[in-house]
Amino acid sequence: MSALEATGTSAPLPDYEIPFSRRGPAATRDVVAFGFWLFLLSDIVIFATLFAGYAVLSGQTARGPTGVELFDRGRVLLETACLLTSSFTCGLFAMSCVKRIRAATYLWGAVTFLLGASFIALELSEFARLIAQGAGPTRSAFLSAFFSLVGTHGLHVTIGLCWLLVMLAQVATLGFRPKILRRLLCFSLFWHTLDIVWIGVFTIVYLGAH
């Protein structure tokens, strides 16, 4: 195996070719990202319980309105477009952060924020419309489950928007220090994960409505 022959030479080996005992501590960024990844997975487990609740209760409308009567697919497509595009611009945002380009960071940060905020605005107006129609969370078990699931996702996006503003302020005041770059990496992971949860929401709740 070439790895064994190369051990004596100065040519750097890829990390995984070096035995664990000789690797030394992992880079701070890898440890931080791994810890945050574990948090995100546990967050996904929270959403899994809400999805399970929704799946069980979605038929229990208590003679009230059903999903097909309530949901407007055009609006959901618009919400999805906002969130998906914001996930893409968040990737561009993260890339400009790594390259330490300030103007691009602010631009893509602002675009991500605006798209996320439009998503929240669309969702809130949908909630307001449902409650005005008398289809609030207290109407039936189906609507309780719907508001818990979609509301928890919306709450996550809102927290993400606050976090994004804080990160932009930190880039402005503290610059691209390693610590700030690690936080930016965590933020982009959070934002992409929320989009993954939204795929489940629009497929199961809106498109799967029966």
């Binding site: 992992a26 880079a27 701070t28 931080v32 399970a52 893409f88 990737g91 790594v98 990496l185 498109l207």
Partner: protein
């Protein structure tokens, strides 16, 4: 930025989300848009046999989640990503257990429930 800060902070590529590049994000975005539009089309179409639509929607959703994981979150099964990948596998396992376990148990309970009329008669 000190030299040391750079070496400890940018050396590793083992973090999820560490390998982003423009072509990769563009490809991922393209796939995601395609899969989303197909999902919305599939939900309203009569071209697909109606009972097969939920299966099609599930397949499209899982494919899109995969696209997001690979192209946006940059999770892969590369040797330096073993920890991230194992954590993801465990997460998927727990999610499956919670969702499908709850659905099976509740459907079973529901099927074995006494019909409402009989229940009311017993309470009299």
């Amino acid at each position: 930025m000190s030299k040391q800060g750079e070496t400890t902070d940018e050396a590793g590529g083992a973090a999820p989300g560490a390998h982003g590049s423009l072509p990769k994000y563009l490809t991922g975005f393209g796939f995601a848009v395609l899969l989303t539009l197909t999902s919305f089309w599939a939900a309203g179409t009569h071209l697909v046999w109606a009972p097969g639509v939920p299966v099609l929607l599930a397949a499209l959703a899982i494919a899109q989640m995969g696209v997001h994981l690979v192209y946006f979150l940059n999770v892969s099964s590369a040797p330096d990503q073993t920890n991230n990948f194992l954590a993801l596998a465990f997460g998927i396992f727990v999610v499956g257990l919670v969702v499908f376990g709850s659905m099976i148990i509740m459907a079973n309970l529901n099927a074995n429930m006494m019909p409402m009329e009989q229940l009311i008669q017993m309470q009299r």
